[in-house]
Symmetry: C2
Subunit: 400 residues, 2 copies
């Protein structure tokens, strides 16, 4: 029972809802044109109509002879060969009934011809072809528009463009395609202890991994990392970097500087600008912040690497994917293969590994365990009100 | 019953085995270094050992006070505050037993201190902290190497690098990672009827879609498209393009020019060089060719767009993915929701769509139906000896 003066920390779902409301505007679909040749993996923003019939013209399905079906209604029958039409040739003169023209796959069928005799069903001697198998009207002729007619929907909105879609766009002569604009994301890692990989560490320093983890996660989820920077704990430096980030990005992600310490640069800069900092009832990732500055939403994740990534997966991934138009995977259920002990009052996101029969959690729950995190393939989601979880329990798992 | 003079066409499996033997050399793992920051999606070629302990040094898990456990074995207890250690600070002097230092998350723990008291369990007045909760040795201290110790496996070979793996590499100070070299693939679309998108079609001409479909498929499957070209039916032009392709690529893919017609540029150029052309017992994709020129394997697919893509999926995709070190999805089984009629003697790869209960085949099996192919999400695999397939039958499906 909480007394009147005790405020429970918000739940994960409450914090998610807050962030979704902050990000409302960027979740609206926004359209841009992409070159079809660069559009692999992009999301179709508006239905694409076929600008032409496909096939564009009546053409042959086989290498063989273009004939009129009346003349080959019974076989064998010998016909004069009046010429050859290759793929890429113009269609030429109309068909002369009772004759044949050699024709190649994809070549236009002359007006008046209405069947193709495959070459393997013929014998040729000089300028005469003997057709050995009778054919009916339309056989081996591909009619104009038989695949799709001009004005019909070639690709509906929402399609994630795979090679076969790009092929269909190209076949229809389209060089650009309307796609969802990628959400523009800025990533700022903070902490004076951070050093870029490739540089020498001083005492007490560590290599920055959060910037790379967040930036590549955003790319994976269909976002565009328009700005990436690292800040020390200097208020001036962080303010300067943040000003640039909000100018260029739809949403800004930060790591570090949000908790209870004496040097919390993100909290200290953003609180006067209306930022809200506090605990969410989860572990890892408890300390969280949010702010909206000059209209740009800013999500402030804690700086421990595991906390940063879990925060991203739980709070940012679903929204960035939604903004990108990509499908959002719902957590699935799996069977826990070994007992788990959790912390009361906080929803736990433990690192886990799939097994042939379910999942097990990895050793160690510390939010600094980056190597352990790398060896995990799921987050195991233990509700806040659960402490002891027995083997065989069905638990929610989030794909990493 | 086939007589002595009738040679059955090779089956899909026989042709796959032939191609696998041709591609043997490129399937061997070959290693190159990638910058960690560019390695998203690449495949780890050799186990990566941690070059350092992680954490690199003993550090604090909480914002709070570094103490010796003996002094806080019972609480409350008041301790003098001797200073502050922030993250990124050097560790400084050894701990003075019976005192405390303020310490921030991630900051190094002084020698002699062996527990951290979280700030929320303390009251501070001036230079004195009152610890309200007793603590034991090791609490909230992250030991050096407690995540991973130097020389242990950080990432095993074969891992497809996701953000969490890149984060672990960065945290360990690694700026490069040994990855599988991507197979270098050249793509050549042939046919004098083909025109690049964006240009005006003449009579009898169509837009090339095969080049884009093959190139983006290769990229999707972890290959590197090192050369892409289009050739008319000119033997000289195709020969010139092919010479460049075999010089730069591990494997060359071509479309078109392999069947029974009079102008089959791929067949005509490669047959004198030892190329083998003929039918495989499948539909679409029946006409197939293979050659090895100056050690470079060349796979020659037919030119109808659906035939090209089906050939790629069945014959090239598994090998390119294997060469790239990526997992190869086995065809799954699904229930056919509506009857299918197939052609005897040929394995059919029909285009299908998933339904809530299984799969249905799309209308039309013609190998020119690019729009229909775009609307499909699976290939439905009907064995060569099957003609009528009843609803409810379990069929193999290949993900598109």
């Amino acid at each position: 029972m909480s007394g009147a003066h005790v405020v429970s920390p918000p739940s994960v779902d409450e914090h998610s809802a807050l962030i979704a409301s902050m990000l409302g505007a960027i979740l609206e679909a926004s359209t841009e044109e992409s070159s079809v040749s660069d559009a692999l993996g992009r999301v179709v923003a508006e239905s694409v109509l076929a600008p032409v019939d496909l096939p564009l013209f009546r053409n042959s399905q086989m290498d063989g002879f273009a004939v009129d079906a009346v003349s080959v209604a019974s076989a064998p029958v010998a016909l004069d060969i009046l010429g050859t039409i290759a793929a890429g040739d113009p269609v030429g003169d109309a068909h002369v009934p009772g004759t044949a023209r050699r024709i190649m796959t994809g070549a236009p069928v002359p007006d008046g011809a209405d069947a193709i005799v495959p070459v393997e069903d013929t014998d040729v001697r000089g300028d005469t072809v003997t057709v050995r198998v009778a054919r009916r009207t339309g056989e081996f002729v591909r009619d104009r528009g038989s695949d799709i007619s001009a004005g019909s929907t070639l690709l509906p909105a929402g399609v994630v463009l795979r090679p076969r879609h790009l092929g269909a766009l190209a076949a229809a002569g389209l060089s650009v395609v309307p796609v969802r604009r990628r959400p523009r994301v800025a990533v700022i890692a903070t902490g004076k202890e951070l050093v870029d990989v490739g540089h020498t560490l001083g005492p007490g320093q560590i290599y920055d991994s959060n910037g790379l983890t967040l930036a590549t996660s955003v790319i994976d989820d269909g976002g565009d990392v328009v700005f990436r920077a690292r800040s020390t704990d200097s208020l001036d430096e962080f303010s300067r970097i943040l000003r640039h980030a909000i100018a260029v990005a739809d949403v800004v992600l930060t790591s570090g500087g949000v908790s209870m310490g004496d040097f919390e640069v993100v909290r200290d800069v953003l609180t006067p600008l209306g930022g809200r900092f506090g605990h969410v009832a989860m572990q890892p990732g408890g300390p969280q912040g949010t702010a909206t500055v000059e209209g740009t939403p800013i999500l402030n994740f804690p700086g421990n690497p595991v906390s940063t990534l879990v925060s991203y997966i739980v709070f940012a991934r679903p929204l960035i994917r939604r903004a990108a138009g990509l499908p959002v995977a719902e957590p699935e259920f799996a069977t826990l293969d070994a007992a788990v002990r959790s912390v009361p009052g906080r929803r736990q996101f433990l690192r886990g590994q799939r097994t042939p029969t379910g999942v097990v959690t990895t050793r160690g729950a510390g939010s600094h365990l980056v190597a352990t995190m790398a060896s995990a393939d799921v987050l195991v989601d233990i509700p806040a009100d659960v402490v002891d979880v027995a083997p065989g329990t069905r638990v929610r798992v989030w794909e990493l």
